[in-house]
């Protein structure tokens, strides 16, 4: 179960505002995290606490294929992104780097306590529980392993 405080954003949050182009020179995860969401809120990286949840509207993560976008959010401490819909490259990338994503339409205020049951695809805020899109089992397994790299290594080591 994932529990965290909500940071609320609107529709069409693109990968250029999640991690602006000038910061793509580095593979250093800490410096990616320091600029997470900078295009929309330059203070976000300082304010976000480990475990917090991003709640957004439609088409979250539209734009480029840069995997640095979900990496920056994960490294900044974001535990899950809940959105009405996702752009598909971001959706795959998030799962691949072990950042949980849930597609669901819900009402949420900034700062609300959000509880996400990934296996069920549900999100609970106060006394309201919303049913979102449940991930297929093979994607849940990738997330449970912490991303595609760890998942493939487990496969290779014959654990699976």
């Amino acid at each position: 179960m994932i529990r965290g405080k909500a940071w609320v954003f609107g529709n069409d949050v693109d990968t250029d505002v999640i991690i602006p182009g000038p910061y793509l020179r580095t593979k250093d995860l800490k410096s990616l995290a320091a600029h997470a969401m900078e295009g929309l809120d330059p203070e976000f990286a300082c304010k976000v606490q480990k475990g917090d949840v991003i709640v957004a509207g439609k088409n979250f993560g539209c734009g480029s294929s840069r995997e640095q976008a979900p990496l920056a959010l994960r490294e900044a401490g974001v535990s899950c992104v809940v959105a009405r819909s996702f752009a598909r490259i971001f959706y795959r990338n998030a799962i691949n780097v072990g950042l949980p994503v849930v597609e669901v339409d819900l009402k949420c205020e900034e700062g609300d306590e959000v509880e996400v049951d990934l296996a069920q695809g549900t999100v609970t805020i106060g006394d309201r529980t919303y049913q979102g899109t449940k991930l297929p089992d093979f994607l849940l397994e990738i997330l449970q392993d912490g991303g595609l790299v760890a998942h493939r290594r487990r496969e290779k080591e014959g654990v699976l």
Binding site: D12, D14, D16, V17, P20, G21, P22, L24, R25, T26, K27, E38, G39, L40, K58, N59, C62, G63, S64, S65, R66, E67, Q68, S85, A87, R88, I89, R92, N93, N96, V97, P136, F138, G147, L148, V149, R152, R153, K156
Partner: protein, 420 residues
């Protein structure tokens, strides 16, 4: 049972079973491309998955090139180039290095994009190669790492949305105006995870560069790829570039395939402009006439080809740039640069006061040079106008055709290119 769409046929071939939209498949990848921004993470992921001494699944199916930060514009960029250069050497992968230009021009131009094939690139505009009848799509670095290791990737077979355009485009109204109008009507997520199949009499008459402008922009309406039925024009383009082109391997969609369709009549289409900060915020140029411009960018994988430059030069004639306006011209590849050079277009741009750069992505993704400062306005032939995309988060990018960009360069404000 209904027939299959072109993308269903490509996924059936690549997964060795007959599949339809909505099914999950594990598919064999025919070609994989990485560049200098997303490649280093893919290499890191590959070693983490497969081991430090591991070999890629098939070096002949991978292409490396550098285009986003070339020539190396910082020490970090130089280190990224070095990492990929060494990886290419160790793994025996062909590397175009800094020499040839922007990936989405170089891949078709050098014969890597073939009809009926499944192609992935670690760049969202990989959807461009669908203009040649390939299913090509952008993926992230970890997916690419997995492709390097196994040559396979999972997909959900996408539904097809056919975007039909009939009629004749008026003079100085281009395929860019048409695709911007389509994006405006469909919305930034209106085709999420769909194959955007462009068709109709207008598309059939277009040459390859105009077609690639359209498939390039499919991602801007959420499309998994842009696609066109490979016809004689596409095959002629391929025959010039591929010695052993297997024309029997070319796939076509069935007439009774299940798909959705939207139709546009283009006879009265005006030049279109995407207004900050969303690509689907599209308005006719007439609504924006008089908007002051600081910088014009003519280039990118969307509109950096010889034909785009020819049209821009025709609009600009011998006029100098407007007072206070900068114009950056960047050919999409060395080949396109040479064509422009031989035709005297580079000279004409330089005479007007424009800066002509060597082939690269330039200001398009804001990670290199030619950036906009706070409050500045850019008019650009590229594909995205997101906040901060070409520099300061407080700058403004308007997207348009090469004709509209050229008209703006000489007047200093957004101008209808048909008035020239």
């Amino acid at each position: 049972m209904a027939g299959q769409t072109l993308s269903e046929k490509i996924f059936s071939r690549a997964s060795k079973k007959e599949v339809r939209a909505g099914e999950f498949v594990m598919a064999d990848i025919d070609k994989a491309m990485v560049h200098d921004i997303t490649g280093p993470l893919a290499v890191k992921g590959f070693h983490e998955i497969a081991g430090e001494d591991a070999k890629v699944w098939d070096p002949s199916k991978i292409v490396i090139l550098f285009d986003h930060q070339v020539p190396a514009d910082s020490l970090n960029a130089a280190k990224n180039h070095l990492l990929l250069r060494n990886f290419g050497k160790e793994q025996n992968i062909f590397n175009y290095d800094v020499f040839e230009g922007v990936c989405h021009q170089v891949m078709p131009e050098k014969g890597h994009a073939l009809p009926g094939k499944l192609i992935v690139g670690s760049d969202s505009h990989t959807c461009t190669y669908g203009a040649l009848g390939a299913f090509s799509t952008g993926i992230g670095s970890t997916d690419m790492a997995s492709v390097f290791a196994t040559g396979k990737l999972w997909f959900m077979v996408p539904q097809t949305l056919r975007l039909m355009a009939d009629g004749r485009l008026p003079s100085r109204v281009t395929s860019k105006d048409l695709v911007l109008r389509m994006i405006g009507d469909i919305g930034a997520d209106g085709a999420t995870y769909m194959t955007c199949e462009f068709a109709g009499s207008v598309v059939s008459r277009m040459k390859m560069p105009e077609r690639m402008t359209m498939t390039n922009m499919a991602i801007e309406m959420g499309g998994k790829t842009g696609l066109m039925e490979p016809d004689e024009i596409a095959l002629a383009y391929l025959r010039e570039r591929v010695d052993d082109l297997d024309e029997d391997a070319v796939l076509h969609g069935d007439e009774d395939a299940r798909l959705d369709e939207r139709i546009w009549d283009v006879d009265d289409l005006e030049p279109q402009v995407a207004v900050p900060h969303n690509v689907d915020n599209v308005r006719p140029v007439g609504d924006l006439v008089g908007t002051k411009i600081d910088q014009v960018f003519l280039g990118s994988c969307t509109n950096g080809r010889f034909e785009d430059f020819e049209l821009a030069c025709e609009v600009m004639k011998d006029e100098p740039l407007a007072q206070g306006v900068r114009m950056i011209v960047i050919p999409a590849s060395r080949t396109e640069y040479m064509k422009a050079l031989r035709a005297g277009l580079v000279e004409q741009f330089m005479e007007s006061g424009a800066i002509v750069e060597s082939p690269c992505c330039g200001p398009c993704m804001g990670g290199s040079f030619g950036l906009l400062g706070p409050g500045e306005v850019g008019l650009s032939t590229s594909n995205r106008n997101f906040r901060g995309r070409q520099g300061s988060p407080d700058s403004f990018v308007y997207l348009c055709s090469p004709a509209t960009a050229a008209a703006g360069a000489v007047t200093g404000e957004i101008t209808d290119p048909r008035d020239f």
